[in-house]
């Protein structure tokens, strides 16, 4: 599905990523942990095609090579604050050509607690609601590959569980997922494989079973990597 080959990036004269190799198969979820400034977001942006790496290549093997087979959600929510919830969704559906029926939309809006506020402008929504609306776009985009940067920011336990449940549903439908987060428990609960990025180097890459939450916390605290 997605292959990152020897990606390195110097960003305003500072090396942010050094020779990162990463592969993601169809329907697989890869979660990337790492301290702040390790280059996680940059790697995600390069995978999304938003940024071009200084060296290395991004290979994307999907049926259609257009951008619409990928969907990236960054720190920012990417919403039109002046438009209402429904207007944002309808516009998003128009341009991605994804045809979710009104009933599906109603159901997912209800599940995300946005149905009552569907006709309010986004700027009046709480931070958590905006984040859920932003994530919702990912779920209805019909993309084969979802790239999520700190998806859970601003969400409490209850919503995290619903989002994780939705992500598991997408994985069953064969959607691949590349996620960056510092929430280890949530990350592990969805990931098939995890990776640890430090100072632009992918120090560790292994299956979720091969490592425990404690070990990751230990490594992140600066312990030695096996």
């Amino acid at each position: 599905m997605l292959r990152l080959l020897d990606i390195s990036k110097t960003y305003s004269l500072k090396a942010v990523l050094r020779g990162v190799y990463l592969e993601l198969k169809d329907g697989e979820a890869f979660v990337l942990f790492g301290p702040n400034g390790a280059g996680k977001s940059t790697l995600l942006k390069i995978a999304a095609g938003l940024m071009s790496p200084n060296t290395g290549r991004v290979e994307l093997t999907t049926d259609s090579h257009s951008h619409s087979s990928i969907f990236y959600i960054g720190h920012k929510n990417g919403l039109y604050n002046e438009l209402t919830v429904l207007e944002n969704i309808r516009f998003f559906q128009d341009i991605t050509g994804s045809r979710n029926s009104n009933t599906i939309l109603r159901e997912i809006l209800m599940e995300f607690g946005l149905w009552q506020r569907r006709n309010d402008p986004v700027k009046q929504l709480s931070q958590g609601m905006k984040r859920r609306l932003s994530l919702m776009k990912g779920f209805i985009s019909g993309a084969d590959l979802l790239l999520l940067d700190e998806p859970f920011s601003g969400l409490d336990i209850r919503w995290k569980e619903i989002i994780l449940e939705r992500l598991r549903g997408l994985k069953k439908q064969g959607v691949s997922l590349l996620m960056v987060t510092h929430l280890i428990k949530e990350g592990l609960s969805i990931a098939d494989r995890i990776g640890l990025l430090e100072n632009g180097i992918l120090r560790l890459q292994c299956k979720t079973e091969e490592i425990t939450e404690e070990e990751i916390k230990e490594i992140l605290r600066g312990g030695v990597c096996r």
């Binding site: 305003s12 004269l13 090396a15 071009s52």
Partner: protein
């Protein structure tokens, strides 16, 4: 390095041509019947205009190359040439009014060629303002390349528009071709001198800019080394 040899040759060439050019303009070229000696500004004024256009032309080409190659080498060449072009275009405007004053006792003439140069001057003031307003190096290069390209395209259109708008440029320079043949030879030599001279200055300015860019990247590398 091969490039150094070429610049050395050009430098020697310029050092020879400049005094000869000076001598030709003031000693050899005949005095113009109507305007008298002041007409000799004409050689300098037109040569400076050519130099300005070379500067902006190099900026135009290297902006395109930067967008294609994404290598900061081209961006450095772009703003170096742009700076040289801006300097020369300022001089064109100044010498233009120095010429207009004695001949038509007016400080500024709305002649199509001068207006085109004035508009171009404003465009590249905008170019450097845009560069100064963006901090991130790569975005600064990318955005200024767009002005570098679009600005240069304005030249033919503005030239055409102002030509129809109003032109009181002296008939003389229009019949530049019909002028005394000796004058034309002197003019051609002066143009050639300034073409070579502009290229040498652009290379020199580029050297300085490239050294600065490398210095800043070394310094940044150093800071990281100390971390």
């Amino acid at each position: 390095m091969k490039k150094d040899r070429i610049t050395k040759i050009l430098l020697v060439l310029v050092l020879l041509m400049l005094p000869v050019n000076f001598y030709l303009i003031f000693q050899v070229a005949p005095t113009e019947r109507i305007m008298g000696d002041v007409q000799r500004i004409f050689y300098l004024h037109v040569s400076l205009a050519i130099s300005a256009y070379i500067g902006f032309g190099v900026l135009f080409v290297s902006s395109i190359m930067f967008l294609i190659k994404k290598n900061l080498y081209w961006d450095t060449l772009a703003y170096s040439a742009g700076e040289v072009g801006l300097m020369f275009s300022t001089l064109v405007l100044i010498t233009g009014s120095f010429w207009a004053r004695p001949v038509w006792n007016v400080w500024w003439t709305w002649d199509p060629r001068l207006v085109t140069m004035l508009i171009l001057w404003f465009i590249y003031i905008g170019y450097f303002m845009l560069r100064k307003s963006i901090s991130e190096r790569l975005k600064k290069a990318r955005y200024s390349a767009i002005i570098g390209i679009l600005g240069f395209l304005d030249v033919p259109v503005v030239r055409l528009a102002t030509k129809w708008w109003r032109s009181i440029h002296p008939r003389l320079s229009k019949e530049g071709g019909g002028l005394d043949p000796l004058m034309i030879k002197v003019m051609l030599f002066s143009l050639l001198t300034f073409v070579v001279f502009t290229i040498v200055i652009i290379i020199f300015r580029f050297r300085v800019a490239w050294a600065e860019e490398r210095l800043y990247s070394i310094l940044n590398e150093m800071e990281e080394y100390h971390e």
